[in-house]
């Protein structure tokens, strides 16, 4: 059974004399017989140990009676589905979701102190784009030389005129 000396290295006999003493002692310890009745005691402890590792132990007596009937299990499953679905529908039908309001209520502005807006509606200037009240003079054409020499044009941004 042992395969200790098949490749020239014996596991059971050491190279030194000191180690052989240790291995003899360890072999004596390893060869000590087991106490009487060990197997019986182990078997007894196994018989008293809990057999099931499940979290919820289903009773065997109940399991073998009506739960083995397919029709009964089908009816139980249908009843569970009916109760859960009915309860959900009842809750849904009683609790209606709140309708979103179409107007935003602004908080009242205290007008009794300081300046008031006189109910004027402020319109952002950039809402419809910049409105020019006067046409821009053609300054580029005036500055253009007559001899045809090209100069790099400067970009002149049109100044917006306040309305």
């Amino acid at each position: 059974m042992n395969s200790h000396s098949h490749d020239g290295f014996d596991l059971k006999t050491g190279p030194g004399s000191g180690s052989s003493e240790a291995e003899t002692t360890l072999r004596v310890i390893a060869g000590l017989p087991a106490p009487e009745g060990l197997e019986q005691r182990v078997n007894a402890s196994l018989r008293h140990a809990p057999r099931s590792t499940s979290v919820l132990h289903w009773p065997a007596g109940q399991r073998s009676s009506w739960m083995q009937n397919t029709w009964a299990r089908t009816a139980a499953a249908a009843a569970i589905v009916f109760v859960v679905a009915g309860g959900g529908w009842e809750v849904y039908s009683r609790v209606q979701p709140a309708q979103p309001s179409s107007a935003i209520a602004l908080p009242p502005v205290a007008t009794h102190r300081g300046f008031s807006s006189a109910n004027a509606m402020r319109t952002p200037r950039t809402l419809n784009g910049t409105v020019l009240t006067h046409p821009l003079p053609d300054t580029a054409a005036e500055k253009r030389p007559t001899d045809g020499a090209k100069k790099p044009l400067k970009k002149t941004a049109a100044k917006p005129v306040a309305p």
């Binding site: 042992n2 240790a22 002692t25």
Partner: protein, 197 residues
Amino acid sequence: MSASQSVFAGWMEIAPSAVEDEARQQVEEEALEALVGQYASTLYRVAFSILRNPSDAEDAVQEAFLRVLRHRDTLGEIRDHRVWLIRIVWNIVLDRKRRAKTRPETDDVAELARVLPAEGLSAEQRAAAAQHHAHVLSCVDRLPKKEREVMVLSAFEELTSVEIASVLGITESSVRSRLFRARNLMGSLLQHSRSLR
């Protein structure tokens, strides 16, 4: 049976029938009892070689078989039950030894003399042998953990180097190199202790 009935029946199938369950349990019990009868003695000796306390070793064996009971579903997948069980009890005893941090009971020479076989020995010879073994065991305990483990397991005649490697979760070449170092260390430790006497 309609399709919905078969779906519900399959969904609600919690466990096999009680008769099958009892028969399966009976088979498992018999298999476990066979394992206990076959390997309890080996497991005890492995546990005792580390713990060196008879009651602790027996507790370790019982705990090992309780673990087997908990994982009895995987028994069919185990290739070598002996090595598997030795590995379980080995882990248990190492864990217990790590937690206990106490000296083994057999460090007491009188207790060792009581445990060791003494056929044909006088009381004086028995005491001298026990003292010698206790001294050697104290030197074994001074070995590094890896070397000590290999040396203890190699003392079991029924364990090959491959099986020792499987128990320890290392390669066979590691077993051999560790055993070589352990023997050298043991030689120097025993020589050093003799020179001090």
